[in-house]
């Protein structure tokens, strides 16, 4: 019988802070609706949680709170990253939804609850907490994706996107749960670390474990939109209101990838060769499918959706590299790449969000024609984000790619490296296409609404911070590298 003491709750401070924020915002909405108030309280709560997490992370932390949650420096780092990102998304959301003709306050509630789910996910090393985390995150995301559905001039196809996401996500959860059930049948526990090394019930062999793990991986691959489980991604990205897309693309991916990382490393899953091969194939398909399908898209959200498929493929290469690297390099590569991915995805979508409102979204790349001469600051930031996504030096995206290449070289994954080079080469084309649009001269016939829209100050501040971070980490990655080196030890 286990009892939870007060001391156990102290490591959970960030989680509790976000929960407290939810309770406050909910009670406040019940008492009196105030859009600005809900926004400020949520953003402040998330920021405080982020700082608390970063503060607790240093110099080191390692607590197992009940068998369900592990709060170590690694999970605290991602808790901080997720809370900070969520606060940034709050800023984008505030201006985006400000002229929505519907109740707006509950949006922040959903956003904060989704963040709770993400925090649970990154702190999980147990199947139960993993399911709780994933479902909390997904349930809130359904609401966020469909948030502007009642509005007349909402983002296109918001309902379609929400239903698609709901059904496919539920199917993916089914895979996950079935996989977990199979593993439980074999080992009798639900901890990650006992998947391979746990007690094996006689009669159930390796094939049983492989099936279970492949089902688990398929479920997570749905959430990570890895090909061939990626079909929902472009439609949902396109149909959601932009801030919800950002949430899905950044926090949704990062939290799921961290739990996948813990599952693979703690469970020593890669010692089963069929699983490794399956993951390699998924990585290859994702890189090729993501990059190739992005080539001919005209919609910015769809381009970034396909590009995120490819980026998840790059991350899988680093994950596979953990198979026989002696050091922590592949965990470091994943961590650095996830940080880079969050910064650049947040920035790229943030530009679009900053220029859009819930009534008029700028999601066609033709809308960005001449942006360089119209709004030099935003265009410069956007260019930086796109070049970072393409992995060009001076940006953090290059540092991420450098780590992935290095981990691939260490484990001698030559085939995957070749695919990575080809994929990045194709990727240059569609990123540069957007950059090229921006430097063209503006057409006379362009809609004055599009050219005149100017984003609000708050989100521009966030964008400038993201841009500075992009350049700083790209030019001087030393601090990030040493931090990541120390926290990565906790995963192994």
């Amino acid at each position: 019988m286990m009892t939870i003491t007060l001391a156990d709750l102290i490591p959970l401070q960030p989680l509790l802070l976000v929960t407290l924020t939810v309770v406050i915002v909910m009670s406040a909405i019940a008492a009196r609706r105030n859009y600005l108030g809900a926004y400020l309280v949520t953003a402040a709560g998330l920021l405080v949680a982020a700082f608390t997490a970063f503060y607790m992370m240093l110099p080191s932390a390692d607590y197992q709170v009940t068998p369900l949650l592990i709060v170590d420096s690694y999970s605290l780092f991602f808790t901080g990253l997720i809370c900070a990102t969520a606060a940034c998304i709050c800023v984008f959301s505030y201006s985006y939804f400000s002229d929505l003709d519907d109740q707006k306050e509950e949006y922040f509630l959903l956003l904060a609850i989704a963040t709770i789910g993400s925090i649970v996910l990154v702190s999980s090393n147990h199947f139960v907490s993993m399911v709780i985390g994933i479902e909390t995150l997904s349930m809130s995301l359904y609401g966020m994706v469909a948030y502007s559905v009642q509005s007349d001039q909402s983002a296109k196809n918001s309902l379609e996107a929400a239903v698609k996401y709901l059904i496919l996500s539920a199917a993916a959860s089914g895979f996950l749960l079935f996989g977990m059930a199979l593993i439980y049948a074999q080992t009798g526990t639900l901890e990650f670390s006992s998947i391979i090394n746990g007690p094996v019930t006689s009669g159930l062999g390796e094939g049983f474990s492989v099936t279970a793990l492949l089902l688990l991986f398929a479920g997570l691959a749905f959430k990570l939109s890895l090909a061939p489980f990626h079909m929902w991604t472009p439609d949902v990205y396109e149909g959601s209101p932009l801030p919800a897309t950002i949430y899905l693309a950044t926090i949704g991916k990062v939290a799921t990838f961290v739990v996948l990382l813990r599952l693979i490393i703690n469970g020593e899953v890669l010692s089963l060769e069929p699983v490794t091969q399956a993951i390699s194939v998924v990585a290859m398909i994702s890189i090729m499918v993501g990059n190739l399908l992005a080539l001919r898209q005209e919609n910015l959200k769809r381009i970034l959706a396909y590009s995120s498929i490819a980026h998840m493929g790059y991350l899988l290469i680093a994950l596979i590299a953990s198979i026989d690297s002696g050091g922590t390099i592949s965990v470091e590569a994943i961590t650095v790449y996830l940080v880079a991915y969050v910064v650049m995805t947040l920035g790229a979508f943030g530009i679009a969000s900053n220029l859009s409102t819930s009534r008029a979204e700028l999601d066609n790349i033709e809308d960005y024609r001449g942006l360089f001469w119209r709004k030099p600051l935003l265009a410069t930031i956007f260019t930086g984000m796109l070049l970072s996504l393409a992995g060009i030096p001076l940006t953090v995206g290059f540092i991420g790619k450098f780590y992935v290449f290095l981990s691939g070289v260490e484990s001698q994954l030559w085939g995957l490296i070749v695919i990575l080079i080809i994929g990045s080469g194709i990727g240059l084309y569609y990123y540069l296409r957007i950059v090229y649009r921006m430097v063209l001269t503006q057409k006379e016939s362009m809609d004055p609404d599009i050219t005149a829209s100017s984003g609000d100050f708050g989100s521009q501040v966030v964008l400038v911070i993201a841009f500075c971070l992009l350049l700083f980490l790209g030019v001087y990655p030393t601090l990030l590298a040493s931090l990541v080196e120390s926290i990565s030890l906790y995963v192994l």
């Binding site: 290449f405 290095l406 490296i417 990045s424 240059l428 296409r433 090229y436 430097v439 030393t478």
Partner: protein
């Protein structure tokens, strides 16, 4: 420390040039000119410095990413200094050629120009391979913008092609660098990207070939050499004049520099066995591109193909890997930098005046623009290798050295000299001789070279004559470096032979 200044002056100057546009449209070009001249003066000061015992005229080292043993390690020797001087000189010339041509967004233009130059200076001085790769990529992005924004009718395609070719092959080089660094880690327990450390790393001979190939492809794409040359004619014909000057004059030389500094010293064994293939590719480049140049009607494409052809002599000289051939390769790099840049400026000047690059529309221009015709004749005969001018010294030495290494390919490549005279004189004949007719274009703005233009061309002519008549100072500067490189690889190769 002075090396850091060389680079940061250009970076900072670029930012100031961009910012100064909001005060006056004419400020950016002034800021850019001052910046580059300042840099050029600093480079000249380096000429006075005596090299240390290790051969470095100046060096700088500081930690950057200690996790992987990556440092800000810059060092300069005679070879780098020669190329830096070329960079500074052509930087001034490029700004001169853009002076009146760039009217749209001048601030951003000069920002890109200066940042490209900063990347090039970084490439010529960086001796940490990660840092080298960093600058290798940094010079691409501004060049992309120069072509994509200020280019001609098909600029989108040309800029994209340029970027994808160089970036993808650059990634091959990155993988090769990482393999070397990891090999250092497995042998010595720490990562290092330092040039001296990586030279001493042993890579298994089967892997060595592939790693060498990564470097080779990246450098020969930039050089360019057949079969990776197809981006160059497009990039050149679409780029604005200043872009072509930088591209032909300096950027192509970074590829040759990479071959001399990195590919062969890092992989002497694999390179020695690969040399016949590389020399064959060089000969094919020389002959094939000379032939293709002859078939062009677009004057800029023609010059672009002749560039590929002339750079073939550089590859040939480098892979012959003896002192004469290397001296020849370096001289060809310098002389071709001047002559190709001048020819592109002439072509760009013509396009600016009559808005066409099509040679079949031209003819008889000698009557209207005599000064320009004389200048064009000078640089054409320089390019075809007339004795007394720099290109002759370079190509002659390269062939002389290559003859000792591989007779067959040298004989084949020597035919390139004949082809070069054919297409060079053919251009002069089609553009400047014959009957003057302006039915295909508007000749109202067809004026002869201005005094400012004459100054630039005069400077470049002077440089070529100097190199042709008295090349000794140039040879003296690069000789110790090349001798040392030859020495180090000879040791490795003979060691290998003796252990086997």
């Amino acid at each position: 420390m002075i090396l850091i200044w060389l680079i940061s002056i250009l970076f900072i100057g670029g930012l100031i040039a961009w910012a100064s546009e909001s005060y006056d449209k004419n400020y950016p070009r002034l800021v850019a000119l001052i910046t580059v001249v300042l840099d050029f003066v600093l480079m000249f000061m380096l000429l006075q410095t005596e090299p240390t015992s290790a051969g470095w005229i100046s060096s700088f080292e500081a930690e950057w990413i200690p996790r992987f043993g990556i440092s800000l390690y810059f060092a300069l020797d005679g070879l780098s200094l020669l190329l830096l001087l070329l960079t500074g000189f052509l930087g001034v010339v490029a700004i001169g050629s853009a002076w009146d041509e760039i009217k749209v967004q001048p601030g951003f233009f000069y920002f890109n120009l200066l940042w490209t130059l900063a990347g090039v200076v970084g490439v010529f001085t960086a001796l940490d391979l990660f840092l080298f790769f960093f600058f290798w990529e940094v010079m691409l992005i501004p060049m992309y913008f120069i072509i994509a924004i200020w280019g001609h009718e098909n600029k989108s395609y040309a800029a994209m092609k340029f970027f994808i070719f160089t970036q993808v092959t650059g990634m091959l080089m990155l993988v090769s660098i990482l393999v070397l660094a990891y090999a250092h880690y497995t042998q010595f327990g720490v990562y290092s990207f330092k040039y001296e450390d990586l030279i001493s790393v042993n890579v298994s001979s089967s892997l060595q070939f592939w790693v060498m190939l990564g470097f080779f492809i990246a450098f020969t794409t930039k050089l360019p050499s057949v079969p990776f040359h197809s981006w160059l004619p497009d990039a050149h014909s679409q780029a604005p004049t200043a872009g072509s000057v930088i591209l032909a004059g300096i950027l192509l030389k970074t590829g040759a520099y990479g071959l001399i500094r990195f590919t062969i010293p890092l992989f002497p064994e694999a390179s020695a066995s690969f040399a016949p293939v590389a020399m064959a590719l060089a000969s094919i480049s020389i002959l094939y591109c000379a032939k293709v140049a002859f078939a062009q009607t677009d004057i800029k494409r023609l010059i672009a193909y002749t560039s590929v052809s002339h750079m073939g002599f550089v590859t040939l000289g480098v892979y012959a890997w003896n002192e004469q051939a290397l001296q020849g390769a370096v001289m060809t790099m310098l002389a071709h930098g001047l002559s190709a840049a001048a020819l592109f400026m002439l072509a760009g000047g013509l396009q600016h005046r009559i808005h066409t690059r099509n040679m079949s529309d031209m003819g008889g221009l000698w009557v209207r623009v005599p000064r320009m015709a004389v200048v064009a004749l000078f640089f054409s005969v320089a390019a075809l290798g007339m004795p007394g001018l720099g290109n002759f010294i370079g190509e002659f030495l390269a062939l002389l050295g290559a003859f000792q290494a591989n007779i067959l390919f040298t004989v084949i490549a020597a035919f390139g000299l004949i082809f070069a005279s054919v297409y060079s004189l053919w251009v002069i004949q089609r553009v400047f001789h014959g009957e003057f007719s302006s039915e295909h274009y508007d000749d109202s703005r067809l004026t002869d070279l201005s005094r400012r233009e004459m100054v630039y061309f005069g400077m470049m002519m002077g440089g070529l004559i100097w190199m042709g008549m008295y090349p000794q100072p140039f040879l003296d500067l690069s000789q110790p470096v090349l001798a040392q490189l030859l020495n180090s690889t000879e040791l490795v190769i003979s060691n290998l032979v003796s252990t086997q």
